[in-house]
């Protein structure tokens, strides 16, 4: 990559970075909006180009066209379904896109159900039950710290799961409440949930800070390079 491309890229990156960071001082302004709309346009255009070239051409059409005649029905089926899906662009053709959309939704729902049940729910349930509630240290003694940790994890898991129980019996005009046992457990789970969300909040802060640091350093580096007239 030659220097022109590098410097040009840096300049463009510098402009866009400053345009977005100008929000700190100027709030919603012309530069910020320009940057936001440009981002959407570039991302959408890149996505469309990748879909057309990398996926549809390289992974489907070209291989199918070069494949034996037995795969021709598959190609035709793909073309027909794909064209029907374009009916979504027009309200009059929305009914035409119903069949491919139904197929897509059905297969996607199956993938989600299968993956969540087999990849998350079962393993996590087993993992929650696995830790020993009376762990022992290598010396064979009760490891109190481990026991506390295991108990906290278990209690946290169960109470947090109970907090997501939103079924409630109607009580006429009064506000519906959870069943008596679930309500108390959910109250405990609320605190575990608050701790988890606090940790997530801190992590988000750190993540954004890391990005901010990198952007500030980029701006400073670009200024130094342009001010010094070259790259060291």
């Amino acid at each position: 990559m030659n220097q022109i491309e590098v410097i040009g890229g840096m300049a463009l990156g510098f402009f866009f970075t400053v345009a977005i960071l100008s929000y700190l001082l100027l709030d919603d302004n012309l530069l910020f909006r320009l940057g936001a709309y440009t981002l959407v346009g570039v991302s959408a255009g890149y996505l469309m180009a990748v879909m057309l070239s990398s996926v549809m051409l390289n992974q489907y059409l070209i291989p199918l066209l070069g494949s034996p005649i037995q795969k021709l029905p598959i190609l035709i089926l793909l073309m027909v379904l794909g064209l029907m899906l374009f009916g979504r662009l027009d309200p009059r053709g929305s009914s035409l896109a119903l069949i491919p959309m139904a197929f897509l939704v059905g297969v996607g729902a199956a993938v989600v159900v299968g993956g969540s049940l087999t990849g998350t729910f079962l393993p996590q349930a087993v993992a929650a039950a696995e830790p020993s509630l009376l762990p022992s240290n290598p010396g064979g003694n009760l490891d109190i710290l481990a026991m506390l940790e295991n108990w906290c994890v278990l209690i946290g898991t169960l109470t947090t799961l109970a907090y997501f129980h939103f079924s409630a019996r109607p009580r006429g005009g009064a506000e519906p409440v959870r069943p008596p046992g679930i309500a108390q457990i959910a109250q405990v789970g609320k605190f575990f949930l608050a701790i988890t969300l606090g940790a997530l909040y801190a992590g988000a802060l750190l993540s954004a800070l890391a990005i901010l640091v990198e952007r500030i350093y980029f701006v400073v580096q670009t200024l130094i390079i342009f001010s010094t007239g070259g790259m060291g």
């Binding site: 981002l39 890149y46 469309m48 119903l98 069949i99 297969v107 994890v153 997501f164 608050a194 606090g198």
Partner: protein, 214 residues
């Protein structure tokens, strides 16, 4: 209208259950059939993404042509979309990844990273005002957990590192325990998310929910 509804529900149920069977029944033909269905579904998902982008382009073109407030921004979006598409498409066709990389690292990355960097200021202001607006136990636990995680993430001062390495052990211990406690909540969240996703998927597979008809 009724025939169309029955047909769509039938498609969803039939092909969905066929795909789901491949997850639980280790029968190779069934698994291969599921793979074939996924093959078609992936292609259709790509088409759906294309349709979405084309619709976006059409909307902003109309907005730009109509004039009024925001028409200029819509024109910027429209132009940038199609310029990027043409450049990237031909670059990929010709195998020139350098151009694509250049676009990604010099246009997309600065824009997206800068937007993400602005989040820290919003989060910080929100955290500062939390107890001012809401003073209850949950808020205290929330902020306390955040402070502990931040405290644990700060490296030791270099000048005091030698003296604080010993006490730092306790800091790490506290962080570890706290992380374990937080993981309990995280696991509960994961379980809840998994159950919710499964319930939603099963509703679709049973025909109770029809998002494709909206």
């Amino acid at each position: 209208m009724r025939v169309r509804s029955i047909l769509s529900v039938g498609i969803v149920v039939f092909f969905g259950l066929l795909t789901l069977a491949g997850y639980f029944i280790p029968f190779k033909p069934l698994v291969d059939l599921g793979g074939g269905l996924l093959y078609i579904a992936v292609f259709l998902s790509s088409i759906a993404l294309l349709v979405g982008v084309i619709n976006l382009s059409r909307i902003h073109l109309r907005k730009a042509a109509r004039g009024g407030p925001g028409a200029g921004y819509s024109m910027v979006l429209f132009v940038s979309l199609w310029v990027t598409f043409l450049v990237v498409f031909f670059a990929i066709i010709q195998g020139k990844d350098v151009i694509t990389i250049w676009i990604v690292r010099n246009i997309q990355l600065p824009l997206e990273a800068s937007l993400s960097a602005l989040v820290v200021f919003a989060l910080l202001v929100g955290g500062v005002r939390l107890l001012y607006r809401r003073r209850d136990a949950v808020a205290f636990f929330f902020l306390g957990a955040a402070l502990i995680v931040l405290f644990a993430a700060i490296p030791l001062p270099s000048l005091l590192e030698e003296w604080l390495k010993g006490p730092d052990y306790y800091r790490q211990m506290l962080a570890s325990v706290f992380l374990s406690v937080a993981s309990g909540g995280g696991r509960g969240i994961l379980l809840g998310m998994a159950l919710g996703a499964a319930a939603t998927g099963l509703r679709i597979l049973m025909g109770s929910d029809r998002p494709y008809e909206r």
